[in-house]
Subunit: 341 residues, 2 copies
DNA sequence: ATGGGGTGTCGAAGCGCTTCGACTGGGGTA
DNA sequence: TACCCCAGTCGAAGCGCTTCGACACCCCAT
């Protein structure tokens, strides 16, 4: 293994000079700089990460804490992780992957051992036990999602309240008067997951504001559960003509179920999903949807973290505005009466 | 930050003694050991990872290289990654996440800078450009999948040749005489991805061996592509009664397509998928399937790597035997003639 | 009583890098 | 001409840990 001393000897300079050439932290004459760079290339020198971290107190590694629990939508998380890694690399950082089931201790472990310089934590619950730990940790962190008490934290998320509301507005604009939100599995709500709760809030508030009926129900992933949930929903509320779905894996089977129950989409039943664009576009009919900008969130998270590492300031809460794309699955409500109030 | 010197002072011993207590590499009297342990707890001491890595030449970090490309099935990879992280933690290691698009250079970077002790590389192509790099690297690695020339490497994979064959055997046993393999998107084949190629081989060999007709076609992910592919397939081979599917995201839409084309599953068309069990079970009808044991592969990969790190020997190639679970989507072929030969 | 072999502990020497202070020499200013 | 300043470079001191060899000390066999 070639060390900085080897490079220094080869270039006929001191080791510290090599270091300064590499880091650019002091001015070095063009002549010397080029000579050193040639030696670096000639010897194939790579600085030893541990030595560098030890001396500089910076590991150039970010922790990414990913949930691996039931009901989480996997492809979105993967997109997200990919964005984090890619963006981190742009800033010359690497990413250490942690699973959420290490819990708060896992965060303390990697932080206090200086394995990482900063943390990105996904899937934050409204009352998340990791939050107090993050507050005390001697390094910056960014949360994806945000807890009830976000004091002193940096949080980034899609504005799910607005997302829920957008869906309602879209359907209400099309004349639908009775809507349902088909949500995530109940376990996700029970865990007090922020995005699920907030969509629900946005949905309910918007329904109220628009003076339309809005009912909500969780939905598990199995086909039978979907069938049962939808059947019961339509039995109890036969006048529902608009469905908002926040549950990516059930989308395919749901379309099936509706067909089975004799509801055509969109003629009898309009559908708006909250999901990744490619999923919406893959369906038949293509779904109107509010997309989840996983990539942008991941980018943003890393950029905020880097800014904080460099001592900069970032907003405490960044809420990305949701965008609804109307596709084939939503249309004018079948008219039964034409009163508008 | 509390250091080993603080602990040593607190316990009234030398720093080296603390180190030996922590590592267990020398015998320490019970008395001293307990005193040190108390001090460690009292001060909340955590060894500094960089210092440890620098001194011991071991970072206790494994690299995991994940593909983020088109046509890869995401949930399986996620399961896989989760298994790797979980198992690595069991052996007191962490996992650094790399994306495949850093290419061979990424591997060299993390290896030569001693950021990691070993590597797990997924999604190996038959002629993978990373393979020669891995051979030269001064640290162990495990490949998921295996290239044509696997000399000097450690590879783990599901036996996809056997998987393809199992599917054929299952259908042939049920009396089907004309089968098709609906594969991954063509990009995956063009990349010479091992698992896709090998399934194809197994499928073709088994069809030959059983004396049944076996045709193969790639299939893209969009609904239209699926519809078109299947329609064309059935036009050209109207006597096909058995379908093998190795393309997880199309499974839902495919069932739709078959329904549209007037083929009932399994009465008119038997289906066997190569996919995760939960996906198979979620469909209606539930699919007969060969499952992809992502978790076992992940475990196995890490365990092999740890063994190698400790100087142990591991088999060059571990092929996990595939298991076919018969569910509702496959049944006796509709009889048109009863000759068996 | 003496020697030998464990057992338990210590001190010091690195691991490979960054960074600080100090030094040199050349150019500009007074 | 004397002075100062700055650009460019060097040497040395760590960063916090592991590990090697050395050293007591005690117990047992002689």
């Amino acid at each position: 293994m070639v060390t900085i001393a080897d490079v220094a000897r080869h270039a006929g300079v001191a080791a510290s000079t090599v270091s300064y050439v590499l880091s650019g932290k002091r001015t070095i004459s063009t002549d010397t700089r080029e000579r050193v760079q040639r030696s670096v290339r000639a010897l194939g020198y790579r600085p030893n990460a541990s030595a560098r971290a030890l001396a500089s107190q910076r590991s150039n590694v970010l922790a990414l804490v990913i949930p691996l629990r039931t009901g989480m939508h996997v492809p979105v998380m993967m997109q997200f992780a990919a964005a984090v890694v890619t963006t981190a690399r742009r800033y010359d950082h690497d990413v250490l992957l942690l699973t959420a089931d290490e819990g708060p201790d896992g965060l303390e472990r990697v932080a206090q051992s200086s394995l990482v310089d900063a943390l990105v934590v996904m899937d934050i619950e409204l009352d998340d036990e990791r939050v107090p730990v993050l507050r005390e940790l001697p390094m910056p962190s960014v949360l994806i999602g945000y807890p009830d008490d976000a004091d002193g934290l940096t949080c980034i998320d899609l504005d799910f309240v607005a997302a829920g509301a957008h869906c309602v507005d879209h359907l209400a604009d099309l004349g639908h008067r009775s809507l349902a939100l088909l949500g995530t599995p109940s376990a996700v709500y029970e865990r007090q997951t922020g995005f699920a709760q907030r969509t629900l809030t946005g949905f309910a508030e918007a329904a109220e504001r628009r003076g339309v009926v809005g009912v909500e129900t969780p939905c598990e992933h199995t086909f039978d559960a979907i069938l049962h949930t939808v059947r019961q929903l339509l039995d109890e509320h036969p006048d529902i003509t608009g469905l908002v779905v926040q549950n990516e894996p059930i989308i395919g089977p749901l379309l099936d179920v509706l067909r089975r129950l004799g509801r055509r989409v969109p003629e009898d039943m309009s559908l708006v999903a909250i999901c990744a664009d490619d999923v919406a576009e893959r369906q038949v009919p293509q779904l109107s949807s509010v997309s989840i900008p996983a990539e942008r969130i991941g980018d943003q998270a890393v950029e905020s973290l880097i800014t904080k590492l460099e001592g900069g300031d970032v907003p405490a809460l960044t809420l990305l505005p949701p965008a609804l794309t109307a596709r084939e699955s939503s249309c004018q409500a079948p008219h039964r009466d034409l009163t508008t109030a």
